[in-house]
Amino acid sequence: MNPINQHEQLVTRRHFFSRASTGIGTAALASLLNERAHGDDAAGSTFPGTAKRVIYLFQNGAPTQVDTYDHKPGLEKLRGTDLPESVQGGQRLTTMTQGKSQKILPSAWKFRPHGECGTYVSDLLPHIGSISDDMCLIRSMYTEAINHAPAITLTLTGSEFPGRPSMGSWLSYGLGSENDELPTFCAMTSRDKEASCGQIFYEWYWGSGFLPTHHQGVKFRGVGDPVLYLSNPSGLDQKLRRKLLDNLSRLNAIKQQEIGDPEITTRIKQYEMAYKMQASVPDLADISTEPQYILDMYGPDVTRRGSFAYNCLLARRLAERGVRFVQLMHAGWDQHGNVPTQLAIQCRDTDQPSAALVKDLKQRGLLDDTLVIWGGEFGRTVFCQGDINNEKAHGRDHHPRNFCSWMAGGGVNGGMTYGKSDDFSYNVAENGVHVHDFQATILHLLGIDHEKLTYRFQGRQFRLTDVFGEVVKPIVS
């Protein structure tokens, strides 16, 4: 047999999909389509999704729904009164407010209707208000966890305990990559300038858990190399490296020919890809080619590397290049005692860039198949944490029973609100959306049945939504 043909033949489809980080699909797609791969599970076919990629603007620390999206004008006349016990319902609170007085603290900011849909959004978020016709605001989110790390872990991995694959890895596993020069799943982090809250960004928030590790999110960093080990060491020039790598490929090809292990062919490709990434990543991170009016859309912070605004712009550039899942995480929403002082700053830092991202995607025709998600891990209490008479130090405690998130693009119905909280923004009153429902809906938008995308580990089929979750059909167009 001709050695070249043999060489080509050895990269079987199965082999390439099972190990390599990129390709048209992955082992998961094979398992979704192939009943045999699951054995006991009548795996159905996938259906065409409306979204091809996701940008998740994760707001670490739990944004207060009371002051941003959940309009409760009726609360004003109850200011300073005790939250009725019937509303509180004997709930276990955090030790910060358990057993203390629970005086109702209405929002200090005005709400006004936006767009044709007339969705009420607080004056803290005027830019996000301006995209309300593109966005589906969910006002009935709820979760189980009451502390940050478990709640974030639940939202991003489907379990409060670290170790499960995160949403982006599931999508990488399920859908593969659209780009062979950049990772399928990228994560970026930023925080408020005042560093008012100390929620740590754990690596497992973008980890692949028990999925093969090439599905884990690649952290794009705000300092140093954007991707770890991207740069050649000083004194090693790229042109020389190129020539040496060509010789490395020759050595590997000889070995491949001799031993016939298809893994070697994959390795040759990965080294090629690494070399390409050394050019494509700096190109991606170089925003100097962006026209001024685009930079202006994202606001003054956009030129500061590592800021939320910069990351939003980078997210658009990643989406343009076909990166499947971009996970931005911005910390600083944990206003236990600084609602009057810090919340406005926090909103100012995130409002304009979030809205700009949606607008920018839209003007490029990318919003149709890019799903943008904005939300945190839980909400905050309607009652005041701290002394209600000390107006400078008003705070709000953690609140898992009701909060707000929104989605835009990717086939989500724009200009709508879904679900309702009760009059106190304390309990879900209508159409509750549990975190697992939220996840099921995201997968659905990407054309994946959340009950079918599974991975066998320690004796059972695992999935992002665990054994729960229902697609929220009314918000899907």
Binding site: Q6, S21, T189, I259
Partner: protein, 448 residues
């Protein structure tokens, strides 16, 4: 009367004669208690409060030489204790409660809502497996004994499978963490059982087991993948060839350190903090936790000793278990990020440079050096074609650095190990840049 006070120019203020019935009277004997004790002594003893009593008694005890010696010893021992405690790490132990506490089922782990209606639950082993001996008390010790009892082969099968996996890349049971009904069937059930029973009978002799595996005809086959084998057994489940797989990241690092001669083979001791790109810890922890890199030999210990923070493991240890859920399977992926790590991590650049220096310190010529390096990296001699490729690489590198001497010196600065003296920077940089890349050859980073 003689004045023997050492400050002989001092005048005597008050002259007083004291008498004693003590046998060993010296000038050091305190003649009177200190003032605070005297102040108490003028009070009748029955009126002393607790502190006053303690003051007088302590003064009295201190008059005894035995007591003073004992306290000196005590102080010394306390210091020793402190020193020893600092030296040895604490380790957790387990002890059964005298009265075991009541335990109920916690549905979905809800610790505040025990299922009291379902009654108490107690220790035991799965009903599908042989029971605990009747006379065994249901505790950890019984469980430990039961695990290795010859009446069931499960533990031995699991153990044997793990060792097999270590050598063949995949276990005889592909799901090493799951031998239950949901796990994979063994590919060679008789072999697994034979090895398991033999392992039990040998007194759980791991060395013997390993010897059996590595001296077997199956293990010593060629790794060659024939067309036929690729078609009929692409994943080598039927073991028609020897295993071949990429080494784990920690082994690749150890190997690079070994090749360069940098490896410090010292055993034991606390974890070490080798190279890591700056700012990683500070970044994830908002500056609260900073990584302080070690220096000297700590940089070159085996990867086994590398400090591992669970929230952010060492970044160059790709594909390793992430320390969240128990994981006994080997993970092997093949991504461009791994390539970047092995090409650009300071660990590997420095290793290549020091490797180059050690070769240049011999009186071999370039060709011999490349041949030796290749042999050390792969365990075999290079073929003529391979030699030609290596020679070409070195020539290209020499041409480059010959006209970029500054770049050559820069490359030599990489890593904490000072550049070897008396060597030509262009020579070192050229050979180092070649070795760095060749150390990435599939054959070098694969077990074959």
């Amino acid at each position: 009367m003689r004045h023997r006070f050492r400050f002989e120019q001092h005048l005597i203020g008050t002259f007083r004669i004291s008498t004693s019935d003590s046998e060993a009277v010296t000038l050091d004997t305190p003649t009177a208690p200190p003032q605070p004790v005297l102040d108490v002594l003028v009070i009748p003893a029955q009126d002393w409060n607790k502190e006053q009593r303690e003051l007088v008694f302590e003064y009295h005890r201190r008059q005894s030489p035995q007591y003073r010696a004992a306290t000196r010893q005590l102080r010394f021992n306390l210091c020793e204790l402190e020193r020893m405690q600092g030296k040895f790490a604490d380790t957790m132990g387990m002890r059964e409660l005298d009265n075991p506490r009541e335990t109920h089922i916690l549905t979905l782990g809800k610790y505040d809502a025990p299922q009291r209606d379902n009654g108490l639950i107690s220790h035991g082993v799965p009903a599908s497996l042989p029971p605990l001996p009747e006379d065994a008390s249901p505790n950890r010790l019984s469980l430990a004994n039961w695990l290795v009892t010859p009446s069931h082969p499960l533990t031995a099968r699991v153990a044997v499978n793990r060792v097999w996996q270590q050598f063949f890349g995949v276990g005889l049971v592909e799901s090493p963490e799951d031998f239950g009904a949901q796990g994979k069937q063994p590919s060679h059930p008789e072999l697994l059982d034979w090895l398991a029973v033999d392992f039990q009978k040998s007194g759980w002799d791991t060395k013997r087991l390993i010897r059996q595996i590595v001296t077997s005809a199956t293990y010593r086959q060629s790794a060659l993948v024939t067309n036929e084998a690729q078609e009929s057994d692409p994943q080598n489940i039927w073991l028609s060839r020897a295993p071949r797989y990429r080494l784990p990241a920690h082994v690749i690092r150890d190997q690079a350190l070994y090749l360069s001669g940098l490896l410090v083979e010292k055993q034991g001791g606390p974890s070490v903090k080798p190279y890591q790109p700056p700012g990683l810890w500070a970044d994830f922890s908002f500056g609260k936790i900073k990584y302080t890199q070690d220096s000297g030999e700590s940089l070159y210990r085996r990867s086994l000793y590398t400090f591992w923070r669970r929230s952010l493991g060492p970044p160059n240890m790709f594909d390793e278990a992430d320390r969240k859920l128990c994981s006994v399977r080997m993970r092997r992926t093949n991504t461009p990020l791994h390539a970047l790590t092995l090409l650009n991590d300071i660990t590997y650049i420095e290793a290549a440079r020091v490797f180059a220096e050690s070769l240049l310190q011999t009186d071999m010529d370039d060709q011999q050096r490349l041949a030796k390096a290749f042999r050390m990296m792969t365990g075999r001699h290079a073929t003529d074609v391979e030699k030609e490729i290596l020679a070409n690489s070195l020539q290209v590198a020499k041409e480059h650095y010959g006209s970029n001497i500054e770049a050559a010196s820069q490359l030599l600065e990489t890593g904490d190990r000072a550049p070897a003296e008396g060597l030509d920077a262009v020579e070192v940089a050229s050979l180092a840049s070649v070795l760095n890349v060749v150390m990435n050859a599939d054959e070098v980073i694969s077990k074959e």
